[in-house]
């Protein structure tokens, strides 16, 4: 058996944990730059709001129903995600994190009363974090996904479901192919055109036909529906190979000075992460792209600079980033996004002194002092001159909630 734990309306739930005044109130969370609605709670769903709706379209409905609107607060969501996963791990030590709000739970051994254990885990997660979750178990990942949906739909209060082999036919017969994990709208259309409308139909389809007409991926889905695990376990998360800091701009950026300002500020964020984990980077890479929308002249490019010796010294990183930017910057384009990627990461312990380069003690001292200033005054407490300016390009986050669990200045208050 394998399980799938999924947080219900995750982003909206995170916002509600620290806002008891929002119980029963419609809550929506917006994407980067406050563009679209990416998450909503049950009350917002009941208003007829759907995922992906542009914010401006739903604006008046949200206002008239006194809904609470939030910009994406990734610092909060990641912190709450870590907490949820930690609590799940207390019951099920093998947890394979699949996304910020989903995790597979492989069970290499038989569990006698799995449903009780699942219920226990669910209530434990809710007590410890305030985040409601659903758990579904099945013989494969694809069946676990189906069991999870089933739990949400058929047992919304209980939120747990174990799909035993002898119940698979009943359940699979009521799952439309488009709702199967890994079957997109295009594939669903092909399947439906050939009379394969439910998960049960796909399970009983011809392997040969599926592979020929669709793909190996769909064949794997078919095997999974038959109870044969065919999607690899990815228990060990890939090691962090680099540090990325990038963002879409709130508006098109055309001036090179503004692009430099953005790149310098991303370099600053990436360098702070690098310093926080006690590492150095050997390479700094910068990329810029124009918007993907039609009617615009498209351009995208990237360049890298080497740091020799590898460094965590912000001015070195910023200079390298701005140098790389100079190589790829072209006038006359409307840029939509830029990013800085640090790679060739080396942790302090494994780092060895080079024979021919003596580390500059002044740089180390400055880096340490900068770290202390940031710790005390936050990320805005110290900036590189390059990153200064008016920052009118920076991401629009007009409805950002406090970072309740990761910033001392933002913790909730009680009377």
């Amino acid at each position: 058996m394998i399980g799938l734990m999924d947080c219900n309306s995750f982003y909206a739930s995170c916002e509600q944990v620290f806002r008891p005044d929002l119980s029963g109130v419609p809550v929506v969370v917006l994407s980067n730059n406050d563009g679209c609605i990416v998450a909503m709670n049950a009350a917002a769903k009941a208003l007829g709001i759907r995922r992906g709706t542009p914010f401006f379209q739903a604006r008046s409905l949200l206002a008239s129903s006194h809904a609470a609107v939030f910009s994406s607060n990734y610092a909060l969501y990641q912190s709450m995600s870590n907490r949820v996963m930690d609590v799940v791990r207390e019951t099920f030590p093998m947890v394979e994190i699949y996304s910020i709000d989903e995790a597979f739970i492989p069970l290499p051994y038989a569990v006698s009363d799995l449903l009780s254990l699942a219920r226990c885990t669910k209530s434990r997660v809710e007590q410890c974090t305030g985040i409601p979750v659903s758990l579904g178990f099945g013989r494969t990942k694809t069946l676990a996904k189906i069991a999870n949906r089933w739990a949400k739909k058929r047992f919304p209060r209980e939120g747990c479901f174990v799909l035993q082999e002898d119940r698979e036919e009943v359940v699979l017969r009521s799952v439309p192919v488009a709702d199967i994990w890994g079957v997109g709208t295009r594939k669903a259309r092909v399947l439906i055109a050939h009379g394969i409308t439910t998960a049960w139909d796909l399970r009983n389809a011809s392997e040969y036909w599926v592979k020929k007409r669709l793909s190996l991926v769909t064949l794997k889905t078919l095997w999974e529906l038959r109870g044969k695990p065919s999607i690899a376990d990815e228990l060990v998360p890939p090691p962090r190979k680099g540090i990325l800091s990038s963002q879409s701009f709130s508006r098109a950026v055309t001036e090179s000075r503004e692009l430099e300002e953005a790149v310098a500020s991303y370099a600053e964020r990436a360098a702070a992460k690098l310093h926080a984990q006690g590492s150095t980077a050997a390479w700094v890479s910068v990329f810029i792209t124009t918007s993907r929308f039609a009617g615009e002249q498209r351009y995208g490019a990237g360049a890298s600079r080497r740091l020799d010796p590898p460094a965590d010294y912000l001015p070195d990183i910023t200079n390298a980033a701005l140098g790389a930017l100079g190589e790829i910057w072209r006038p006359g384009f409307r840029y939509a996004k830029a990013g800085v990627f640090l790679f060739g990461i080396d942790t302090s312990e494994s780092r060895q002194p080079s024979l021919f380069t003596v580390p500059d003690p002044r740089k180390a001292a400055i880096t340490r002092a900068a770290g202390l200033i940031r710790e005390k005054y936050g990320h805005r407490g110290l900036r590189c001159l390059h990153a200064g300016g008016h920052r009118t390009w920076s991401m629009r986050q007009e409805h950002l909630s406090p970072r309740y669990t990761t910033s001392w200045a933002d913790i909730p208050q009680a009377r």
């Binding site: 008891p20 005044d21 929002l22 119980s23 870590n82 907490r83 949820v84 930690d86 609590v87 434990r124 007590q127 410890c128 974090t129 305030g130 060895q352 002194p353 080079s354 024979l355 021919f356 710790e375 005390k376 309740y404 669990t405 001392w408 913790i411 909730p412 208050q413 009680a414 009377r415």
Partner: protein, 132 residues
């Protein structure tokens, strides 16, 4: 080019007789936090708990994993706001008791939105130069 690095760079001198016994320094996290995933920090605003040694501006260490019992100091969500009070459970009645004679007991009515957020397990106060 790099060379292997050994623990003792300078072979001169005597090793510390205590080096085998070296331990990690005291860490306040181990004292204050039992379960990191369930621990939240909440700032006190107001004087209602001064009698329990909880002052305005203090930071509460709140553990959500503990089932609140009669007599615990809790952070509760009451009518949409967080409040810190002592929890009293008497004859099927839930009372939030301030620890300050200037404040009154709050008897939770059936029509009130009430939920225990977590149990207060510690109080942190910095006197000088603390960041919070």
């Amino acid at each position: 080019m790099t060379v292997p690095l050994f623990g003792e760079l300078i072979p001169a001198g005597f090793p510390s007789p205590a080096s085998d016994y070296e331990e990690g320094e005291l860490d306040f996290n181990t004292l204050l936090i039992k379960r990191r995933a369930a621990t939240y920090c909440i700032k006190v605003s107001g004087e209602s708990m001064t009698g329990a040694g909880i002052l305005s501006g203090d930071i509460l260490v709140v553990d959500r994993s503990i089932q609140a019992a009669d007599g615990d100091i809790v952070v509760a969500a009451l009518d949409g706001e967080f409040t810190v009070k002592r929890l009293r459970l008497r004859r099927g009645c839930v009372v939030l008791r301030p620890e300050n004679p200037a404040y009154r007991d709050i008897v939770i009515g059936d029509d009130q939105d009430f939920l225990v957020f977590g149990v207060v397990t510690g109080v942190v106060r910095t006197l000088r130069g603390g960041k919070a």
